[in-house]
Symmetry: C2
């Protein structure tokens, strides 16, 4: 191309990816991310008091939604978006018009690799999303599509094309993502182990998806990324990303999409208060003993050929099988339906009928 030699290289997928940040405070943390994030568009979901002014460092291209905006845009359907909980971030997924989403918490800083180099987390997520996944057979040298790696002896050749990747789950150095009981028992534990790997989470295997450092293909799997009902007025918190992860994984397994975990790392700067967390979590700690077997045994019928159809079917099964655990799940199942209705309203399916491609 006739590019001027001094031109900076175009950041990958600059026009196809939004960065979604839920927050209640000034976004000073963006200063550290400036070299990596500035070329991208940000969607900021302001939680809590909508009259508070959130300061965004200069030079970033962003749109910001507070609770008043959410209520105005969604009307009565705004009830499906959590308040006073970072679960509100999923509103950003819904209003985005891009193919990819990267979401990050505002207490996550740039980590360094063992050589001391700053890690471009977004670039690694994009690499993960743009290379295939291998959910049906495990490769012992991890992601076979990385440079310097490949499929090992005994890996069936028919599976080496892999499948399309829908989700890239990144990890955290420093403060690990522990539950309140583990935080209480191990107050000083820090994650210092840099594991230089990306791997596909095998089909039919569930995992605890953390929303701190997460990217996904919104066109492929967006409607499954609902972060549930948490926070204000709800009996539970801190299970928003878990819920999304379980729903998303069974739908990816059903539709044949891949989910990767591992690199990139971010630097998680501070531990949240374990006492506050315990209050938010304790019901979830009981409930997950029921919800995880539920998701492990979910079967989606063959005619669920779109994420929306899968998700509505899942909401029915939640109502049928989990409402007896607690009435909360009945309410959650209804909110799942509302979420899909709101999604489709903001992202009307194209005339061709492919619900995977939203109108831009």
């Amino acid at each position: 191309m006739a590019a001027v030699s001094s031109a900076k290289p175009t950041p990958i997928l600059k026009d196809e990816l939004d960065i979604v940040i839920p927050t209640i405070r000034n976004l000073d943390f963006l200063e550290m991310w400036r070299p990596f994030f500035q070329p991208y568009h940000l969607i900021i979901v302001q939680d809590g008091d909508p009259s508070k002014i959130i300061n965004v460092p200069e030079g970033f291209d962003y749109e910001l939604y507070n609770r008043n905006d959410i209520n105005r845009i969604l009307g009565p359907k705004a009830s499906c978006i959590s308040f006073k909980d970072s679960a509100c971030r999923c509103f950003g997924y819904m209003v985005s018009k891009k193919k990819y989403i990267f979401t990050i918490d505002d207490d996550c800083f740039v980590a360094k690799d063992p050589s001391g180099k700053e890690i471009n987390a977004l670039e690694q997520h994009i690499k993960n999303l743009l290379s295939p996944s291998t959910p049906t057979f495990f490769n012992t040298l991890y992601d076979p599509y990385r440079e310097g790696a490949d499929f090992v002896r005994g890996y069936p050749f028919s599976l080496r094309e892999g499948v399309i990747t829908a989700v890239s789950h990144g990890l955290w150095l420093n403060i690990p993502d522990y539950d309140a009981p583990t935080q209480l028992v191990k107050p000083r534990e820090r994650n210092t182990r840099y594991v230089d790997a990306v791997l596909t989470i095998p089909k039919s295997t569930l995992f605890p998806m953390c929303g701190m450092n997460l990217a996904f293909d919104r066109e492929l799997i967006g409607p499954a990324m609902y972060f549930g009902l948490m926070g204000d007025g709800q009996p539970i918190g801190r299970y928003d990303d878990m819920w999304a992860g379980w729903c998303m994984k069974v739908i990816c397994d059903h539709l044949g999409y891949g989910v990767k975990t591992g690199l990139p790392y971010i630097w998680h700067s501070k531990a949240s208060n374990p006492f506050v967390n315990l209050k938010k979590e304790y019901l979830g700690i009981f409930w997950q003993e029921e919800t995880i077997p539920f998701f492990q045994n979910v079967a989606l019928p063959k005619d669920c050929t779109t994420v929306q159809k899968c998700y509505i079917e899942l909401s029915k099964q939640v109502k049928e099988k989990l409402a007896k655990v607690d009435p909360y799940f009945d309410k959650l199942a209804d909110a799942m339906v509302t979420w899909i209705e709101a999604w489709d309203e903001l992202n009307p399916p194209q005339a061709e009928g492919s619900s995977a491609k939203v109108t831009k």
Copy 2:
């Protein structure tokens, strides 16, 4: 204990682990492993010409079996032990009287970790085997039982005890374990990525198990570690460890045992000849397209409560479903039965009837 302060620490499991080495040459490679292996007992399985004298460096405690010994000990049942193929190593598993086996190839040297420290591969395998596995739910910070790690938020508490670990699969720096086509296409590829992780291979997920650097609990899973019919007189080679890995994994899944992969690394010194390998492998490359779906769909009945019962049942299903792929599988199914008969002859089940505990 009243130990003298200058006494060396006792190597872990010194009296409970045998090191099994298949070879056709002098075992000079042991010099490098001396600090790590010398306290342990070695079982050397000499392949090829039994009249050849194999030199073992001084100071090692070993027993050596050549083809004449195998024929003498097993009589007609010796037919199940491969000749002119490293698959013969499984004879060593059978004659061992120890609880644990570590098997290593004689072209595998001591690797170094990123800090330059020599890796005690055996010690890491023992750590892997002595800590539980987590096959039913994936932990994103890898092995939760390692120092500095734990279960992350959202990991069900009821699953945190884990299950007993049966197998520890180690990896290789330098020459990766590639099949002949990949060797031919990437002759210069070397594995230089040290991934500091151990992880459980999830339930119902198959993987390509390599026999180069492998440890297992012989009492738990030994009879499933049959390396099949390979080499002399057989149409196939280099699928011995793969076969054992598939059989072992479905049996571990059925019996609720764990399989780990990752650390430790060894230094794989030289690539085998890809042209020779292609000749050995090419039928396997076709057949694995049928055998892997077979193993992915195997169901073992509830009354298969011991490894032996599982393995005999598996042999029946191999005969029934794979013999139509090639008559070789008919012969292999018979050899699987012979293997179990020979195993039980050398390891008579105890009076209590627990076949998991062999007589010492």
